[in-house]
Structure formats: structure tokens, C-alpha cells
């Protein structure tokens, strides 16, 4: 008997629950699509009940709205909630509807001077540990920043170097040097920023044909279109009465055809003198530098391409790291000037490593023939370049 009443109670409780749930459940043929980040619900069910317009249409619309809103509210009430100052607040997810932007995506900033240089040389950032062991304090300290490991301004004892003025304040000297470094860094940062803001490429948004463009806009679009060919607009035909476009760029100034006879005679004789002289008018230093720079660029570009391919195919090891040394120090030109040592190399044995193009007339092989030519397998030859 008690068992029966317990059963009855349970059944009654179930019925009550179902009744309560009924108040908030809505039956729909197709489930709604929700975008809770935007508080949005889309109902794909065709509104069949409202096909016939009539006096009851408002009420039917309202019933449909009520059902849809109930479903949306059910979803919203299931979100995780916080209690913020006595109010129950639901945490909304990210909106999923893709809406067009108001303004175009910001353009990538131009590279800073260091980034350009690193790109050219092929320098990649070395992975460094966050903490460094500091002997003095006997603990792990930051590499840079507050309470860093090697802060030379915080030393309590500085030996006066032999050639310095004994009355000079070494501590103040270090602090001053640091201030100068900070100021220089700030200056460079501001310069990079200024460079970034000066260059702004024109956006392509105004050049799409809409059918309602003014004369100036059309003219601008025509100009841009003309110059967008492989020959940069050199062979584009013009309409019969069209005027030649104004060349905007650096204005070249030429000397007048005949005027200063004395100056002309002088310049001609100077040219003849140079042509007759035996000594090369070549600045070897500059030539070598230029050569080295070109090669560095090629190498870095190649390495970048390899590493990109490697990343795409899933991290293969690229063909070696940096090479030790570089092109030989024998006079830079390809035309084969007299082989002079020096150039930019400060000491250091000549003819290091392998030049890809095979070197100048075989004089290179006095060094290490093993390293010349192609790199062998993925040898990671680190180390700095010797200048």
C-alpha cells in the first residue's frame, strides 16, 4: 500500500514536471539556427499558418514570434552565467554570422631598418631562454627588464680603468651611457614609425566600376589601368584627341645643349684622361661590398623559399644553415681586375668557403676545397660571419 502511494507520488511528480516543461517547450518541424553572439535566431520553417491574410494575421504573427522567442530564450538561458553586482549575466559566445567590414583591413606595416637588414642577411631570431643564472645574486633572473641578471648600472664596485681620470665618477658614467642608449633606441623607434606612416598605398576600393562614377574618378581609374600593364603603360595607345598624361615623378634636369664651352671642354678632357690611365678607377672596397651584398640577398631569399617549402611539406630540415665565411676576398669584380687582397676583409685567410658561381679563375682552391661548391646535406654550420 505504501509502495502504491509512492508510485503514485512519483507519477504525479513526473506529470507536474512535464506540465512545467510544456510551458516552455515549442514544437517545430525544422530546428532553428542560433547565433547567440548576435542574439539571432533563424527559423527556416515556411510560415504556412499565415498564408491567408486576414484579421487574425496580427495574432498569428505574434504567436509565431512568441514561439521563436521562447526557443531563443531557452538557448540563452543555457549559457554559462556569472553573478555581477546582484545581476545574473550570461556569457555570450563569439558571433558566427559573417558580416562585411566597415573599413578595409589595415595594410601591413613596412619593415623596420633592422628587419630589412635581417632579411637581407638571412638572420633569423635565435631562440633564447627566459631566465638566466645570475652568479652574484645566486638566483635565476630575467634576461632583460626589471631586476635583470647583468645590469651594469647596479654594480656596487667598479674598478677605475688604468687610463681613466681618477676623479671621474664611474657610476655616473655608466648611468649616462645607459641614458644615451635609451634615447637612441627611442629615436630609431620613432623614425621607423614615421617611415611606416608616410607610405600609404592607394586602396583599390574606389576603382571598381559602379556605373555611377564622376569624371575625376573615372580619369583616375583610367590612369591606374593604363599603368597596370607589364610594360608599365609604355605601349598603350591613346585615343586620337587624348592628351599625354602628366608624368609625375622625379624631374630630371639636363644641361643646356650649348652654353658653357669651357666647362664642356674640361669635362671631355677629364673623361679622356680617365680612359687613358692605366690604374683602375674602381673602388675595390665598394665593389666587393656590393658583390657580397648581392650574394647575401640571393642566399637569404633562397633559404627563405626553402624554409617556406619545408614548412608547407611538414617541417623537413632545410638544406643547411649559414655557411662559414663567404665569397673570397679577391677583388670583387667579375670582369677580372687585378686580384688584390683586402677589400673588406680584416685579416683572416683569403678564399674561404665556396662561391656558388665557381670562383674567379680557379685561384680559390688554395683554401678549403672541401667546402667549395654545393653544400653537403643538412649540415648546420652556425657561427657568425667573419667580416
Amino acid at each position: 500500500m505504501e509502495g502504491q502511494s509512492v508510485e503514485e507520488l512519483l507519477a504525479k511528480a513526473e506529470r507536474d514536471e512535464a506540465e512545467k516543461l510544456q510551458r516552455i517547450t515549442v514544437h517545430k518541424e525544422l530546428e532553428l539556427e542560433f547565433d547567440l553572439g548576435n542574439l539571432l535566431a533563424s527559423d527556416r520553417n515556411p510560415p504556412t499558418g499565415l498564408r491567408h491574410a486576414g484579421p487574425t494575421q496580427e495574432a498569428e504573427l505574434r504567436a509565431l514570434a512568441r514561439d521563436n522567442t521562447q526557443l531563443l530564450i531557452n538557448q540563452l538561458w543555457q549559457l554559462p552565467t556569472d553573478r555581477v553586482e546582484e545581476a545574473l549575466v550570461a556569457r555570450l559566445p563569439e558571433p558566427t554570422t559573417r558580416l562585411p567590414r566597415e573599413k578595409p583591413v589595415p595594410r601591413p606595416r613596412p619593415l623596420t631598418r633592422w628587419q630589412q637588414f635581417a632579411r637581407l642577411k638571412g638572420i633569423r631570431p635565435k631562440k633564447k631562454t627566459n631566465l638566466v643564472w645570475d652568479e652574484g645574486s645566486g638566483q635565476w633572473r630575467r634576461r632583460w627588464g626589471y631586476q635583470r641578471a647583468r645590469d651594469d648600472t647596479k654594480e656596487w664596485l667598479i674598478e677605475v680603468p688604468g687610463n681613466a681620470d681618477p676623479m671621474e665618477d664611474q657610476f655616473a658614467k655608466r648611468i649616462q651611457a645607459k641614458k644615451e642608449r635609451v634615447a637612441k633606441n627611442e629615436l630609431n623607434r620613432l623614425r621607423n614609425l614615421a617611415r611606416a606612416h608616410k607610405r600609404q598605398l592607394p586602396s583599390a576600393a574606389g576603382l571598381h566600376p559602379t556605373g555611377h562614377q564622376s569624371k575625376e574618378e573615372l580619369g583616375r581609374a583610367v590612369q591606374v589601368a593604363k599603368v597596370s600593364t607589364a610594360s608599365v603603360g609604355r605601349f598603350q595607345e591613346r585615343l586620337p584627341k587624348e592628351k599625354a598624361p602628366r608624368v609625375s615623378g622625379k624631374k630630371r634636369k639636363f644641361q643646356p645643349l650649348f652654353g658653357d664651352f669651357a666647362a664642356e671642354k674640361k669635362s671631355q678632357l677629364e673623361m679622356l684622361r680617365i680612359m687613358n690611365s692605366k690604374k683602375p678607377q674602381l673602388d675595390v672596397t665598394r665593389a666587393t661590398n656590393k658583390q657580397m651584398r648581392e650574394e647575401d640577398q640571393e642566399e637569404a631569399a633562397k633559404r627563405r623559399k626553402m624554409s617556406q617549402k619545408g614548412k608547407r611539406k611538414g617541417g623537413r630540415q632545410g638544406p643547411g644553415g649559414k655557411r662559414k665565411g663567404g665569397p673570397p676576398s679577391q677583388g670583387g669584380t667579375r670582369k677580372g681586375g687585378p686580384p688584390s687582397q683586402g677589400g673588406t676583409r680584416k685579416g683572416g685567410p683569403p678564399s674561404q668557403g665556396g662561391k656558388r658561381k665557381g670562383g674567379l679563375g680557379g685561384k680559390m682552391n688554395s683554401g678549403r676545397p672541401g667546402l667549395s661548391g654545393k653544400r653537403k646535406g643538412g649540415q648546420h654550420q652556425g657561427g657568425k660571419r667573419r667580416k
Binding site: 535566431a41 533563424s42 527559423d43 510560415p47 491574410a53 509565431l64 514570434a65 540563452l76 545574473l88 567590414r101
Partner: protein, 255 residues
């Protein structure tokens, strides 16, 4: 609907914008000057009575413009009841399968979401959800109704909803459209890398729905691992003696 409209921007039509569909330069000029990208333009003439043009801009150039005609209009003032405060974020509901069938309707839905959704928020006060905008596409017309939300007690945590018609209601008929070309639309949808959803690393999914995770461990000295103590498997003294004797005999044999 009043939330974001800057008061200074109700321009005098007679002097300035006449026909948005013919000449868009004045629209673009105003958008540039006021730094607004959404606009609504109303007009009335014999050919197009009760005309409303809703549009949006990308980079101060017209992206989409849709012209609708208003057939039945009931304003806020006509319905006499209390309204919800200005600036509430509304809930948007689109009903009807028409909104996914035609390109025009799809863009219109996108445009209406963009227009009415309000500022993006990460949290919302559940008791503060008061405003619902309901769009029904039926028989070539779009019924726009706004309701105020009343939360009633139901037995459980989620309340039961009752709606009260509050705000403006309109019956709209689609007239002309000026939709952006595909490539311009694509350009406007471009998201910068920083906003793209970040991929979770070290998590992979099976075709069966199992999620696999990957943990990276440092090298462990397995001999020094502390495992569970299985007392039952512990060697008893008698057994240990027997083992020792065995080992000794083996060693003697080897030697």
C-alpha cells in the same frame, strides 16, 4: 532603433541627396564626412510611394543598397504602452524560408542583421533582454514587428515568454536592389589574421568523434617512479631467500 543614429546626421534632403540609386557621390561624401557606414534614406514620390532605402558602405563606397516600400506602418506613438529604454540590444528573429532562397533576400537579411544588431557585447544581463525584432518573409512581403518581452514564471529556471507589441511595425515590399559585386563583397569580408579563430594545438579529432590530446613530458627516470603499492605482490621473506639461493647457484655455475 534609435540607438546609434547620430543626431547631427539627419540631413536636409532637399538640398543634398536626391536619388541614391542614380547618384551615389553625395551619399559617399556624407559617409566620409560623418564617418558612418550604415544609412537609411526615406522618400516619397508618385512613382515610388513610401520609399525606404537601407544601405551600407565599405571604405566609404556604397556596398549594398536595398530599396523597400512601406505598405503598412504603425509608429511607436500609435501603440500606447511603456517602451523599453533606448539603446537596448535587441534580439533578432528571421522567420520564413524565403530568407535563404534568393540572393536578394539573403543579402537583405545580412544587411538587416548588420543594421539592427547593435554593439557587440560579450556578456548580457539576462533580465535586461527586453526587445525583440521579428522579420517574417511571406508572400513576397516582409513583416517587421517589434515586441517587448515579458518573462513569466514557469516551473523551471527558464521563464515563459509573453510578447507585447510595442514598437514600430511595418510591412515591407522589396523594390530595387543594388548589391555589391562578388569580388567587392569578398574584399569586404576579408578578416585580418589576428581575428581569425586560433587553431588549438595538440588536439586532434577522430572520424568517430573521439578527441585526442597530446601531452609533452620531460624524460622520466622510470626506476624512481612512485607507483601504487601492491602489497599482495610483495615478496615474502621465504620467497626472497629462495630467490637469493637460486641466484647464488647460477653465479657459481657461470664462474
Amino acid at each position: 532603433m534609435e540607438f546609434c543614429i547620430k543626431r547631427s546626421l539627419f540631413f536636409n534632403i532637399r538640398k543634398n541627396i536626391t536619388r541614391p540609386f542614380e547618384d551615389q557621390t553625395s551619399l559617399e561624401f556624407f559617409s566620409k564626412k560623418s564617418d558612418c557606414s550604415l544609412f537609411m534614406f526615406g522618400s516619397h514620390n508618385k512613382k515610388r510611394p513610401n520609399n525606404l532605402v537601407i544601405g551600407r558602405m565599405y571604405d566609404y563606397h556604397v556596398l549594398d543598397m536595398i530599396e523597400v516600400g512601406i505598405e503598412k506602418f504603425v509608429s511607436l506613438k500609435d501603440i500606447k504602452n511603456s517602451k523599453c529604454p533606448e539603446g537596448t540590444k535587441p534580439m533578432l528573429i528571421f522567420a520564413g524560408d524565403d530568407f535563404d532562397v534568393t540572393e536578394d533576400y539573403r543579402r537583405l537579411k545580412n544587411l538587416l542583421i548588420d543594421f539592427f544588431r547593435g554593439p557587440t557585447v560579450s556578456n548580457v544581463r539576462l533580465a535586461g533582454l527586453e526587445y525583440v525584432l521579428h522579420f517574417t518573409a511571406l508572400n513576397g512581403k516582409i513583416y517587421f514587428r517589434s515586441y517587448k518581452l515579458l518573462l513569466k514564471k514557469s516551473g523551471c529556471r527558464t521563464p515563459r515568454i509573453e510578447l507585447e507589441e510595442m514598437g514600430p511595425s511595418m510591412d515591407l515590399v522589396l523594390r530595387r536592389t543594388h548589391l555589391a559585386s562578388d569580388d567587392l563583397y569578398k574584399l569586404s569580408m576579408k578578416m585580418p589574421k589576428a581575428l581569425k579563430p586560433k587553431k588549438k594545438k595538440n588536439v586532434s579529432h577522430d572520424t568517430f568523434g573521439t578527441t585526442y590530446g597530446r601531452i609533452h613530458m620531460q624524460k622520466q627516470d622510470l626506476s624512481k617512479l612512485q607507483t601504487r603499492k601492491m602489497k599482495g605482490l610483495k615478496k615474502r621473506p621465504a620467497e626472497r631467500k629462495a630467490e637469493d639461493q637460486e641466484k647464488k647457484s647460477k653465479r657459481i655455475k657461470k664462474d
